[in-house]
Assembly symmetry: C2
Homo-oligomer: 342 residues x 2
DNA sequence: ACTTGCTAAACAAACGTTTGCGTTCACAAT
DNA sequence: ATTGTGAACGCAAACGTTTGTTTAGCAAGT
């Protein structure tokens, strides 16, 4: 009952043969008699033999484990993404070792060290908001441990990455509103140091351009992504003489904050003012007053691509690395159906 | 740049001493000269030495890794719980290897095997809904790999577990409604094979008993936890001559389905009918029409206790096991503030 | 009878570390 | 001069596996 797990050695001892023969017998590997092979198999069965992976890891120098570091599991974006990563990894017989940085750069660095010392074969990372330097990652790559970034990717170019292009989705979103007849379209954008903010702004401008309309720069305001910052942004928008009849919000949360504020002012959603945002959170489906459309960022797909990329890097580890993978996923506007009674 | 990571052997070679001395030097372990110790340390620094955990794992027979298997990461309950587990584990220098069963028993079994072959030191599990046999887990325990169950725990007694007692929370919930003057209180319960359902029913009955009131058995109906099943349950409740003025719903989702239905019938929430449920999901805080209170199940705390328990089992692995840990956390009613404008 | 060639198995080294047990040496105590 | 003591280190085994290199045995070809 409390016996140590069976080993190859034990099997060898029982059969009076050498461990190496047992190993070969179990692997169809080298030269081994089919009679003996059978015997080995049956004894292995009897003893309930399972290979000790730690020994194999040491021997092969691989752990068949990939590390995943991401900011917050409670964000549904990331829980979808990691589910995808897990699925792919499992399919390829890899295990996932994961940890959350909680958007703390120091913690992130610590985790990278831990992962390294656990000898993960590769790493998938979505960096913390506060992360400003990337040496801890480049150190990994230089030690031949591939790193793939996704969604929140460093602004440097010499890394492998998967990300979603917000520009196309934004163009779709604005065109969607234009087609509906809106002309005064506000945008609540995020902090300007984020690539995602730049892309949203670009998309906004291009959408207007594509219809040969010109846009009002004062219609683009910035929120620090808190509820309060969003209220301030809304005030800025609603002060404009030509009041916006539609607003593109940075994400669904921002949208909900803004909607709440608009309703407080007595505005009727989708009548006086319409919202479009990003993320397409599941919680939307339980609510009455929601953005009429949302730009989907495909978290599952991003996770999938990132995992595929890492798997590819791992299997071609020996062959000389040439350049860096850089996958861009197109974001995509989807219309929302409310889950409420309205 | 692309060099193999430094090893103890390499350090030993450079200093012309034996690997064992290096090991001791790095660990303050056995007898080692302080001068030599210094030299060892500096060389280790220079070479950027990091111990190869896989070798240590093999040598020590421990991986300092715990496995976590749970049904769905996208449920906020579980993402909180695993965050707690991760926090505790990290504090004790353990890494987390995790996987989702997606409520599929076959997948769960597979995962257990994978975890075992990766030689996790212990396992924390919240079992899949469909899981009916537990041999795959008992096999682990018998191999001296401790297993701790949390939240969804097997109905057998010879396991370690952490769970939340729904009865006390239910008593609080019903008493809360009684105190508010409600007398016709409905309950939408879950499938009767769940322990959690039994506890809810018991709590309901006890709460009435404690006020020397008697309850109407037809007030307790069952939902299969889908939206449609919940509508049927609502119909059953609203058919009763003495219509319920308040309803205790199995969880927040059920509550939201029920609220949606009630509103469709023109009922005004918290006036014509009041809801109380379980889970205390974050999404509640964004909505207008919500249960006025919710029974908190303390996912973070459950994860914490489960991790603590496992850590304890791991550190006392050698000492003979006597009995099983069984921690019960009291559920607790918390009043909700709406995040909407109402 | 002697090389060849083949199969089936053993041998041994290796992966990187830890650790019990020696060994050596210097020096103090007898 | 002998013994004891302790410090500082080396040796070697061990963890469980894989894998390149023998070796042994045996049948077939010359």
């Amino acid at each position: 009952m409390n016996s140590k797990p069976a080993t190859i050695k034990e099997i060898a001892r029982r059969l009076g043969i050498s461990p190496s023969s047992v190993s070969r017998g179990l692997h169809d590997h080298g030269s081994i008699g089919s009679a003996m092979k059978e015997k080995i198999r049956t004894v292995a069965q009897e003893l309930n033999y399972e290979p000790n992976q730690t020994a194999i890891f040491l021997q092969k120098g691989k752990t068949h484990t990939i590390g995943v570091i991401l900011p917050e599991l409670s964000e549904s974006f990331f829980s979808s993404a990691i589910t995808a990563i897990e699925d792919i990894a499992n399919k390829k017989n890899y295990q996932v070792m994961f940890a959350q940085s909680h958007d703390d750069e120091a913690k992130e660095k610590l985790l990278v060290e831990k992962m390294k010392s656990h000898r993960v074969d590769g790493l998938i990372v979505s960096v913390a908001k506060s992360t400003s330097s990337y040496e801890h990652f480049t150190k990994l790559s230089s030690q031949n441990i591939p790193v793939v970034f996704f969604d929140r990717i460093p602004s440097v170019t010499n890394v492998h990455s998967v990300a979603c292009d917000m520009e196309t989705g934004t163009i779709q979103a604005v065109q969607y509103l234009l087609k509906k007849g809106h002309r005064a379209i506000g945008m609540i954008n995020g902090p300007s140091n984020l690539l995602a903010s730049t892309q949203r702004k670009e998309g906004y401008i291009k959408a207007f351009g594509s219809q040969r309309l010109k846009y009002d720069p004062s219609m683009i305001v910035t929120s620090d992504l808190t509820e309060n910052g969003t209220l301030i942004a809304m005030e800025q928008l609603l002060i404009i003489k030509r009041k916006p009849t539609a607003i593109v919000a940075f994400n669904d949360y921002i949208s909900l904050y803004a909607i709440k504020y608009a309703r407080k002012l007595g505005l009727v959603i989708n009548k006086d003012i319409e919202f479009v945002s990003y993320s397409n959170l599941p919680l939307i489906h339980y609510m009455d007053h929601i953005p009429s459309a949302s730009v989907e960022q495909h978290p599952y797909l991003q996770g999938q691509k990132a995992a595929d990329m890492l798997m590819d890097l791992l299997s071609n580890k020996d062959t000389e690395q040439q350049g860096f993978y850089r996958v861009i996923i197109e974001s995509e506007l989807v219309e929302n159906r409310t889950g409420g009674i309205l």
